[in-house]
């Protein structure tokens, strides 16, 4: 088909700028200012898609966001964007678009066989058909998903940039048509911060498709003047190509801006799309309305479209919907199309009006003059044409309008422009939880009581008359600004005079009668995107679906990306008729965000790849990286896991590091350890409440290990706290837990103990911490330390285990703690973070003669497990008490503390609670998997009674065998007993229950 449907002149396209594009590989030409849809129509392309379920041939249906049919893939390869509405795609040179949901081609689609068997595919057919056998559902589902379809997502990473940003404003105006522009002018002149967002490339909305004059100027010129005026206001932000897709709590709205989708590729450095997260003090919704289709027999053939869309294509894009257009309506709004078509030299086959009475619309008065036949009280009872419309059967209706009265007339036409009335676009209002009210005159839902600070104006408020759109918009913008605290000193009302027209009556006949009953023969489509027919809704009602919410889910009407933009009211009308209820008594379903689909790219923005999550770095991180360390995720830290040398495996590296600590000395970057500085006269009292053990009598310069519990008695955290002064402590928490523990302390101090004179400051990151561990730790430190008596000559008393000293290490002011998590003689050195790397390097240099080795977290885990030391988060999981861990000695009986009462509950003292034990496997090389379950007997067939689980498990280089820590029911009473650990691959492992301290249980080495 090569004939052009382009008019000779007119429209807002630039005829001096032709643009080449392809559809399904075939080359076409359009003009700058075209959408893909208008350009396809201009080229006579009618068939653009196959429907969702029945694979019926479909054409362009609308001219905007409500398009249910013309969903295409735009672009190739990684840039491809599936399921894009052709009506919203701006044409650019080289644009390549493709039809979807067909095989092998759009014209010959094998899936269309579904249409032949459609009687076997009623609403809910898969619930009925694919029930048995139950386990087969997943197999069925894959096939159903393939047959029923949408486009396919590209499988290569998107090369383009997507971005997100926040914005704040006093007034957000949704929609830049007559009402929205008026609202923006009113709000803008008060000095309020205004954001005006419109989904189209150009502001003006319906004004861009109007032929009438406004105060001497064309409607589009008035819009352009308004935009120019708004652009000059410093606090007004204009967002074209921006769809407000979601309205959330507290006037938080989401906007998807298509920054560069109208270009072949985004300009370097700028995003393709940008997501706006807007907080608006006030919102004005001026989102317009959607025309409804008429539900008549075979109302979905390519060439059948909405009348308003046909008029928009004609006036805005200079494209005739067909060479001979039949207009079919139940209201006045389609008559101006007949006038405009005639003026453009088009052929109007007839106007078929369901209403028997003559329309009082000024355009209707001109039908005789234009020699356009008007058939009042008539209906389109059927259509013909497989891949494009060829003719319509028109019949008179009986007086009630519920049956055709014979006298069928075949009218040749290649387009039907239909109007079933207009539904205000209440989607965002409904998302904002506003109540909808049914308007009998308009036969539509209009906004009722608002819940949030929002106003509706113009067509989305049920005001279809242009004059009222201007006034309502202006008043809404002014009132919104006033509520946000802004008024204009010298108000200007630059509103044009528009003729006022009273909307005529709408005659709802739904479905439109045909020769055969609904459900037999031709289909009466209600929801075009989801292929839901009038018969489906009738069936749902007959099967007992009385609730509109159930009917929606059962038939899928109003679901999916379309959210019922054109179908919602017709579906409700059909259901109401079936249930013999009025539409408001059936109720409307909620409209859900997004209004139109939002790309994953825009939602993800730049939170991808290296910016997906923060990566916390210690002051020595660069050294670890340069040393080729393998890293482990600990919270948001990347901690050195181990430092492999050349061809070492993980096991070899860990073994080397563990043995270095046991035999000589190793150093560990422990900067991630949480540190909280606690000061005040009541600091010791605070610790007494927080920890389970006693703190008041801890001497200055001494350290103590403590466990803290939640109110329920479960272990929250543990660590060593040092007394730096009479009223000054430094608490250590586990890595990544400092913020949580700090919040815990603050909560108690602020809400329960406000009189307690103690204050806490997190100082984790102020210090770099290096642990020096091993029998040579003291000698290594002695080589670098000044001003600290390490007790080289005098023995332990000078600087005993669990004490702290201040001095200088490697020339750096330092605080040195003698504490140990490895069971060896060990020091932790704190210096200011800026000196961390210097200290680390100095220790490595000075330690060369001892063969000092940096060791990672895995070696640390092995070393502490050999000693039976617990690790919070590994041996504890929020259900473990200090008693379960065998820490009775750390639980004070002399004082109260958080969680103490819980620990005395009967359940906490039961002898069969899970308790910490060690496990030694029968086979010394058998390393149990962490998390494995423990059973009492040699396992037979399941079910087995789990007695506990393995919490930590390693191969111990020190002991030359595997070790494991476990929580075992009544574990401490079972020392010496044999238990079994069922293995996925090889039966089970036998193990002996032992004390968790595998190595140096008396702690001799600590005191070096």
């Amino acid at each position: 088909m090569t004939r052009s449907f382009r008019t000779g002149e007119g429209g807002r396209i630039d005829r001096s700028k032709p643009i080449g594009f392809t559809f399904d590989g075939k080359t076409y030409a359009g003009f700058a200012g075209d959408t893909l849809a208008s350009a396809l129509l201009a080229n006579g392309v009618r068939l653009v898609a196959r429907s969702f379920k029945y694979h019926r041939p479909r054409g362009i249906f609308s001219a905007g966001a409500e398009e249910p049919n013309a969903l295409v893939r735009v672009g190739d390869g990684a840039r491809a964007l599936p399921n894009t509405r052709a009506t919203q795609v701006e044409l650019y040179e080289g644009l390549a678009a493709y039809s979807q949901n067909n095989w092998p081609s759009l014209r010959f689609d094998a899936g269309a066989a579904a249409n032949l068997f459609s009687r076997l595919l009623p609403a809910g057919f898969y619930y009925k058909t694919f029930m048995r056998p139950k386990r087969m559902w997943q197999w069925y589902e894959r096939r159903i998903r393939r047959a029923a379809g949408m486009g396919r997502a590209p499988d290569a990473p998107d090369p383009d940039l997507y971005d997100k940003r926040h914005a704040h404003c006093d007034v957000l105006i949704v929609g830049g048509g007559p009402a929205g522009l008026s609202a923006a002018l009113a709000a803008g002149q008060t000095g309020a911060r205004v954001i005006l967002a419109d989904e189209q490339s150009e502001f003006g909305g319906t004004l861009l498709g109007e032929t009438g004059k406004l105060g001497g100027a064309s409607a589009a010129d008035w819009a352009a003047d308004a935009v120019a005026e708004l652009s000059a206001m410093p606090e007004v932000r204009l967002l074209p190509r921006a769809t407000v897709f979601g309205y959330y709590d507290h006037n938080h709205l989401g906007i998807a801006e298509r920054v560069a989708d109208h270009l072949p590729a985004p300009t370097a450095g700028t995003p393709r799309q940008r997501l706006w997260k807007v907080r608006a003090k006030q919102v004005v919704l001026a989102a317009g309305s959607h025309e409804r289709p008429l539900v008549f027999a075979d109302n979905d053939r390519p060439g059948i479209m909405l009348a308003g869309a046909a008029r928009s294509y004609l006036n805005r894009y200079g494209v005739r919907a067909g060479s001979r257009v039949l207009i079919f309506t139940n209201n006045d709004s389609a008559y101006p199309l007949a006038v405009d078509l005639a003026a453009a030299g088009g052929d109007v086959a007839a106007v078929v009006d369901l209403r028997p009475a003559a329309s009082q619309h000024p355009a209707a008065w001109r039908m005789d003059e234009l020699k356009i036949e008007v058939l009042r009280g008539y209906a389109v009872a059927g259509t013909k044409g497989r891949l494009r419309l060829k003719s319509a059967t028109v019949m008179a209706l009986n007086a009630d309008g519920n049956e055709v009265a014979g006298g069928a007339r075949e009218i040749a036409c290649d387009a039907i422009a239909m109007s079933g009335g207009w539904s205000p676009a209440v989607h965002l209002f409904s998302q904002s939880r506003g109540a909808l009210e049914y308007d009998e005159v308009l036969a539509a839902f209009v906004p009722g009581r608002a819940v949030q600070a929002t106003r509706s104006a113009g067509a989305c408020n049920g005001s279809f008359d242009l004059h009222r759109c201007f006034l309502e918009g202006f008043d809404a913008g002014k009132a919104a600004a006033a509520d946000a605290g802004f008024t204009a000193e010298d108000e200007q009302r630059p509103l044009p005079a528009a003729t006022q027209a009273k909307p005529g009556p709408v005659r709802m006949i739904n479905p439109v009668p045909s020769i055969r009953p609904v459900g037999q023969g031709p289909k009466h489509f209600v929801d075009f995107q989801n292929d839901v027919t009038a018969a489906d809704i009738g069936l749902a009602a007959r099967e007992g679906y009385a609730s509109v919410e159930h009917t929606k889910r059962y038939t899928t009407t109003g679901m999916g990306t379309d959210q019922g933009k054109t179908s919602s009211l017709n579906a409700l009308g059909l259901l109401a008729d079936q249930l013999a209820l009025a539409i408001p008594d059936v109720g409307a379903t909620t409209f859900r965000p997004p209004y139109t689909p939002v790309t994953f790219g825009a939602l993800a923005g730049r939170d991808i790849g290296e910016l997906y999550a923060p990566l916390r770095r210690t002051p020595m991180q660069r050294w670890h990286e340069d040393a080729g360390a393998a890293f482990e995720d600990v919270g948001q830290w990347k901690r050195p896991f181990y430092y492999p040398r050349r061809s070492e495996t993980k096991e070899q590296a860990v073994r080397r590091e563990v043995l270095a600590v046991r035999n000589s000395v190793g150093i560990l970057d422990a900067s991630t350890l949480g540190k909280i500085d606690i000061k005040g006269p009541d600091a010791a009292a605070l610790l007494d409440w927080i920890y389970t053990n006693d703190w008041a009598r801890l001497g200055v310069g001494r350290c103590r290990y403590g466990v803290m519990c939640r109110e329920d008695g479960m272990v929250l955290d543990d660590g060593v706290t040092a007394r730096l002064g009479e009223e000054h402590f430094l608490m250590h928490t586990t890595s990544g837990n400092a913020e949580r523990v700090s919040a815990w302390l603050e909560e108690w101090l602020q809400t329960e103990w406000p009189a307690m004179r103690a204050r806490c400051t997190v100082v984790t990151e102020h210090y770099a911490t290096v642990a020096v561990a091993g029998p040579n730790a003291r000698r290594l430190l002695a080589a670098l330390a000044a001003g600290i008596d390490l007790g080289i000559d005098m023995g332990n008393a000078a600087f005993p285990h669990m004490s702290v000293r201040e001095g200088v290490v490697a020339g750096i002011p330092a605080r040195v703690f003698r504490v140990s998590y490895t069971g060896e003689l060990s020091y932790e050195i704190n210096v200011k973070a800026r000196h961390g790397l210097t200290l680390w390097r100095a220790l490595l240099t000075a330690g060369e003669r001892f063969g000092v080795m940096p060791f990672g977290t895995e070696a640390m885990h092995v070393l502490r497990a050999e000693k039976g030391y617990i690790m919070v988060g590994q041996e504890t999981d929020g259900t473990v008490t200090p008693l379960d861990l065998g820490m009775e000695r750390a639980i004070s009986t002399r004082k109260d503390f958080l969680g103490k009462r819980s620990l005395s509950r009967a359940d906490m003292t039961k002898p069969d609670r899970k308790q910490l034990v060690g496990l030694l496997t029968e086979d010394p090389d058998d390393v149990l998997p962490e998390g494995a379950h423990i059973v009492a007997e040699q396992p037979g067939k399941p079910p087995l009674q789990a007695q506990g689980h393995v919490t930590s498990s390693y191969y111990s280089p020190t002991l030359g065998r595997s070790i494991a820590l476990a929580l075992l029911r009544g574990g401490r009473g079972q020392l010496g007993r044999q238990v079994f650990v069922p293995r996925e691959d090889c039966g089970s492992s036998a193990a002996t229950v032992v004390d968790p301290a595998f190595y140096d249980p008396k702690g001799v080495r600590l005191h070096g």
């Binding site: 923060p614 400051t761 800026r834």
Partner: protein, 199 residues
């Protein structure tokens, strides 16, 4: 440095000096690491006595209104929360002077200088860059120069201090500095980023 020891700022590994430029006319934003500023966390009840002592010994008032800051010479006081401030200064002995001055009062001062990395974000697009990662409204009517707020910038907790019309100082935990710097460079790319050395 005052103590003459080699010291690494949080962004030392990025070798920013090598990327620094003099000419910034085309840059929408200028990024500067402000290393080794003295930061003191102070917690106290802002009694008239405490405020007098502070202004006598540090020369700076204590802002008592939420989100306010005070500045006198090189010393700044940033309101962080009820009874909590961040005192920032160029002088190393600030902590010791305060400890002495507040002896006998229940006022805690804690050196947290190295816990932070301070990044100065300046330029005509500074607010746009912040808007990409921070939900705060930085409009002049809400957040004029002098305001302080703690918030999230991208996925890092920050203290945001607007020091001039188009200058923001961002206090971020040292370990997050690398992430935030990379994020800022990425967010600013659209407007042009110039790395500038601290004066």
């Amino acid at each position: 440095m005052a103590d003459g020891l080699p010291a690494q700022g949080a962004l030392a590994h990025r070798r920013l000096a090598a990327c620094a430029v003099e000419e910034t006319r085309d840059a929408g934003v200028r990024l500067t690491e402000m290393p080794f500023r003295v930061c003191i966390n102070m917690r106290a009840q802002a009694t008239p006595e405490v405020r007098t002592i502070l202004s006598q010994h540090a020369g700076c008032g204590l802002p008592v209104q939420p989100m306010e800051s005070a500045r006198r010479g090189t010393l700044g006081a940033l309101w962080l929360g009820p009874e909590e401030w961040l005192l920032v200064s160029g002088s190393d002995d600030l902590r010791d002077r305060l400890v002495t001055a507040f002896r006998g009062h229940f006022v805690t001062v804690t050196d947290v200088s190295d816990a932070y990395c301070i990044v100065r974000l300046a330029g005509p697009a500074a607010r746009d860059v912040l808007a990409k990662g921070c939900g705060l409204d930085t409009h002049d009517s809400v957040f004029p120069p002098g305001k302080v707020a703690r918030s999230l910038l991208a996925k890092a907790e920050v203290t945001l201090h607007r020091t001039a019309a188009d200058v923001f100082e961002i206090y971020v935990a040292r370990s997050y500095a690398d992430y935030l710097w990379r994020w800022l460079e990425d967010a600013g790319a659209e407007y042009g980023v110039a790395v500038v050395e601290a004066a």
